[in-house]
Amino acid sequence: MTKKVLIVDDEENIVTALEFLLQRSGYETRVARNGDEALSEVASFAPDLVLLDVMMPRRSGYEVCQRVRAHPEWQRIKIVMLSAKGRDVEVSKGVSLGADLYVTKPFSNAELVAKIDALLGGGRAGGQ
């Protein structure tokens, strides 16, 4: 069964890059471009992992993270925060809100994919 990743970012070009990367790594992807969309996609798409930008119009990434963590059925969803804000306070805020990982932009493609693979417990084959 293919693992599903929800990409949430409002930067068109970054979304394009992430989609390309993750599809090449064998994940099924869906895109949301703001916080509201992200929440409805989580419900309908039921992703295994959410790649979450912090600075977005309407609900910030922090808020989305908080909502997902507050929902009992969504506890197993992994959350990776992606942000151009790299100060310690922001990292720890993300982690304290329940993110599994906080990745600072710009990132290395290989590292990001490796971390996502590790979180989702298996190689790109994902083949359980």
Partner: protein, 910 residues
């Protein structure tokens, strides 16, 4: 109805009422709920200044020389303004030293000199006795005149009545009893006579009410207001000279000045004034209200004096009725029985108030400063060995009261006829004015010594006796009148009324000038001619420096004492109860439970005991008593000076320390504020950096991601490769733009930007900008309308910057305008020396709360998926800076859904 019985009964009823008030106030004081602790009561009690002399005598004097009586009330008004400084100091000193009277005050200042205290007492008694006799005269005359109602008959000559049938004697005796009842309930004279003060305040109300009542009656009932009284007086041949321009005021201006000065001193140094203003003062802050309330009282009681005087003179044929009695005789002549009775009661209250307070003050002085020091020194009396002296002390005071009143009566019998009321009063004023140099000098000049004070007082008193008392005796027939006319032994220069040939002044002015010259001269000369003793030096410092935290009298004492012996002394003068109370309070303040725990008789305690004792028997006597039971090491003058120097250095250091710590505090506050400002700036800088970093990282992220993809995935197809390379290019451009703008803004904000200002044609600027953006408009399908007049004036500006602003505004408009049917309108207009450019889009508009925010750095407004702006967030802040640099404004007007209009204006080049 106004028979003798009614008058007597009313008088006694009034005195009874007074006694009831005093009794009630004393009871309340014992219960710790004082009724006199009010600035209003304090102010009213000061009005004991207005005696029968004011009540009857002012009108009498006004009837003779118009406004001549007024300095007696204007003087105190001026003096009381100085009380803020002077009286506050006296109050502080008196409370610290438990001063019991004016004599005690002066004696205490000059080294607790018993001699000086005794001298002040003698002068006060001699000087005040005539004044008391004047009150007796006023009351008995008032009574005798009222008894004749409805006839108006002046009383017979004083000497014509046998002593025992003389009303004045009975008045004196009744007042003596009354005063004893009021004034000698407590022994400690430094304690307040609360009952007396309450009664005096009430009396002040009664006399004011009575006087104003008769004044209103005469002015508005008999006559038709002030104007009418004066108009009729002006029409009267005898009175007219008093109304048309006066020859000077009251004869001469110099008399007026001296009368003012005299009464300025009297308000402070009349024994009764010192009693109510200092000894009976409960709270220093009461001064504040009294400073204007008391003058107001005097103004009120004087408003009707002139109408009454003129009314009286118009009413009665010349020479028939004594002008001093007009207040009473006018209502009698008009058959106003009740009013006449009220006036009599008013006069009675004025007289009794004065007599009660004055005799209490004088008897305290006579006891503490005259008799006790003498008795204590007389070894044969063995007073030191008697266990309880409280009874003796009270007996002395009561005897002194009776004696003083009888002296007053005696003077009345012997000399009272020679003078009008006002003149007698002024003689007393001049006597107490002799205290001024020693008392005022003593609180401001440390150099004043006992020797100087004695010399000054003696000289002043002798001159007073010679120029005022002697003539009074001569006129009463006790000395040959030739003495006045030719001078003693026929020496003209020594004529008492024209001493050393000083002529043309009235008697009081003449006496004041000479006595003050002698007094002040001797005081200063005596003080400077010798050096003070240790005790004097120390007291001088305690008095003069009282406001600078003085009062540590204990530090001057060295010796050994025993607590039981001191207890014995206190018990003798205060009674065992008083001594117990004193010991308990002293021990309590040091956390000891007396008598279980004994107090140590150290310097502090000896000082405390002496001060307690001084409150009962005066400073000089207390000194003698304490010295008799403690072994004292006399401090040399040198030692006292050292202590004082040390103390003044400590004071100086602590002043400096205070100043330094105040400065330090200010500096700290400033530093804290500066630090806050720096922190705020730091925070802003931090935020800015964080935002800039964020903005830089976003394009970098795309660039890095695609670069790695292209690098690591060689097999992606050409179309995709082209697309990714395009993204990299655009994001690189975005990065460059951002960096340029950050640098640009930093330069402008720091004022380091270079401006190439020339005459700029805005039409050209707009056309260039629209042309440059042409391709963008075309791509997005946006219609652009430009409306410009034929010609506009040029502006003085940097051409490139103007184009930069236009491009910013246009790309802004492109971003925000309707994506389907975009439309931008540009308008240029000129009016009143200003050019204005509007750039209007047809987008979603900007909400009111965002309109200010968009001019902040990196604040992009946009919240839908599609309108994520791709500007840097710096365009508008930069544009605004540029326009403001050119003295214009840049602003936005918009409503949600109505599009937005960005406008700026610029002044036309001159």
């Amino acid at each position: 109805m106004l028979q003798g019985g009614v008058i007597v009964v009313s008088s006694f009823a009034y005195l009874g009422l007074l006694f009831a008030i005093a009794y009630y106030a004393d009871k309340r004081a014992d219960a710790g709920r004082s009724v006199i602790a009010s600035p209003y009561i304090y102010s009213l009690s000061l009005a004991v200044y207005a005696t029968a002399w004011t009540f009857y005598g002012s009108v009498g004097r006004a009837a003779v020389d118009g406004v001549g009586f007024l300095p007696i009330y204007i003087g105190p008004t001026l003096m009381i303004a100085l009380w803020w400084v002077v009286m506050r100091k006296i109050l502080r000193i008196s409370k610290q030293n438990r001063i019991t009277s004016l004599a005690d005050f002066i004696a205490s200042r000059y080294g607790k000199s018993a001699l000086l205290g005794g001298m002040v007492t003698v002068i006060a008694v001699i000087g005040i006795v005539p004044y008391i006799s004047l009150q007796l005269k006023a009351v008995s005359n008032g009574f005798l005149i009222l008894m004749q109602y409805p006839e108006i008959v002046m009383p017979a000559k004083v000497g014509a009545v046998p002593v025992l049938q003389d009303t004045a004697l009975w008045v004196a005796l009744i007042l003596a009893l009354f005063t004893i009842a009021f004034g000698t309930r407590h022994l400690d004279a430094a304690e307040h006579h609360e009952g007396m003060v309450a009664a005096i305040a009430f009396e002040s109300l009664v006399k004011l009410l009575a006087f104003v009542a008769v004044g209103v009656y005469v002015t508005f009932v008999i006559y038709d207001g002030f104007g009418d009284v004066f108009a009729r007086a002006a029409a009267d041949r005898a009175l007219a000279p008093m109304l048309t321009p006066l020859e000077g005021v009251a004869g001469s201006y110099s008399n007026w000045i001296w009368l003012t000065i005299l009464s300025m001193l009297a308000i402070m140094f009349l024994p009764r004034q010192f009693q109510v203003s200092v000894i009976e003062n409960k709270d220093e802050s009461h001064l504040n209200k009294a400073i204007w309330l008391f003058p107001l009282y005097m103004l009120a009681i004087n408003v009707f004096v002139l109408p009454l005087a003129f009314g009286g003179r118009l009413h009665f044929p010349a020479g028939v009725v004594d002008a001093d009695t007009y207040v009473l005789t006018i209502p009698m002549a008009e058959k106003q029985e009740l009013l006449a009775l009220l006036v009599f009661i008013g006069g009675l209250s004025a007289a009794t108030g004065m007599v009660i307070v004055e005799t209490i003050a004088l008897s305290t002085m006579a006891c503490n400063d005259l008799l006790m020091p003498v008795l204590l020194r007389m070894k044969s009396l063995r007073l030191n060995e008697r266990l309880d002296l409280t009874g003796l002390l009270l007996g002395i005071r009561r005897g002194a009261i009776v004696l003083i009143l009888l002296l007053g009566y005696l003077y009345f019998r012997l000399a009272g006829e020679a003078y009008a009321l006002v003149s007698i009063g002024l003689i007393s004023f001049a006597a107490v004015a002799q205290f001024a140099p020693a008392a005022l000098g003593g609180i401001f000049w440390k150099g004043g010594t006992r020797r100087g004070a004695l010399a000054g007082l003696l000289a002043g008193f002798l001159v007073w006796s010679y120029t005022l008392l002697l003539p009074a005796l001569a006129r009463s027939g006790w000395l040959p009148v030739a003495l006045l006319e030719q001078g003693p032994w026929g020496i003209g220069l020594l004529r008492p009324l024209e001493l050393f040939g000083l002529k043309g002044l009235d008697q009081i002015t003449h006496a004041m000038i000479w006595s003050m010259v002698a007094n002040i001269g001797a005081y200063v000369a005596g003080s400077l001619s010798g050096s003070p003793s240790a005790e004097e030096t120390r007291q001088a410092s305690l008095f003069v420096d009282v406001l600078r935290g003085g009062g540590a009298g204990a530090r001057f004492w060295r010796g050994t004492a025993s607590a039981p012996q001191l207890y014995g002394v206190l018990a003798r003068f205060l009674g065992t109860e008083g001594a117990d109370e004193a010991f308990r309070s002293y021990a309590g303040a040091r956390g000891l439970r007396w008598p279980a725990e004994q107090v140590t008789a150290d310097a502090d305690f000896v000082h405390f005991a002496e001060t307690q004792l001084a409150g009962a028997i005066g400073a000089a006597s207390a000194r003698i008593m304490v010295a008799s039971v403690v072994k004292e090491e006399a401090l040399s003058l040198e030692e006292v000076r050292n202590i004082l120097d040390e103390a003044s250095q400590v004071v100086m250091y602590s002043h400096q320390l205070e100043q330094k710590s105040r400065e330090l505090e200010e500096a700290t506050t400033e530093l804290r504020a500066a630090n806050e400002r720096l922190k705020e700036l730091d925070r802003l800088k931090d935020d800015f950096l964080s935002t800039v970093t964020h903005e830089l990282r976003t394009p970098l992220t795309s660039i890095r991601a695609f670069t790695e993809i292209l690098h690591q995935e060689p097999e992606i197809d050409a179309a995709q490769r082209r697309k990714f390379l395009g993204i990299i290019t655009r994001e690189t451009e975005r990065l460059t733009r951002l960096i340029n703008q950050v640098l640009d803004l930093a330069k402008i904000e720091a004022g380091r930007a270079l401006w190439h200002e020339t005459r700029v044609d805005m039409q050209q600027v707009i056309s260039d900008a629209v042309t440059a953006m042409g391709q963008v408009f075309e791509e997005k399908g946006i219609r652009v309308d430009v409306r410009m007049p034929e010609r506009v004036s040029p502006v003085h500006a940097d051409l490139d910057r103007m184009i930069q602003v236009m491009l910013n505004l246009l790309s802004n408009a492109v971003k925000f305008c309707d994506p389907a049917a975009g439309r931008i309108e540009i308008a240029l207009s000129e009016s009143d020396g200003w050019l204005r450019v509007d750039v209007r889009d047809n987008g979603a508009g900007i909400s009111a709360q965002d309109q200010q925010a968009i001019f902040d750095k990196f604040r992009q407004v946009g919240d839908t998926l599609t309108d994520k702006p791709h500007g840097t967030g710096l365009g508008l802040p930069i544009s605004r800076h540029i326009i403001e640099h050119h003295a214009g404004r840049l602003w936005v007007e918009s409503e949600r859904g109505q599009g937005a209009t960005f406008s700026f204006d610029l002044p036309v080049a001159s």
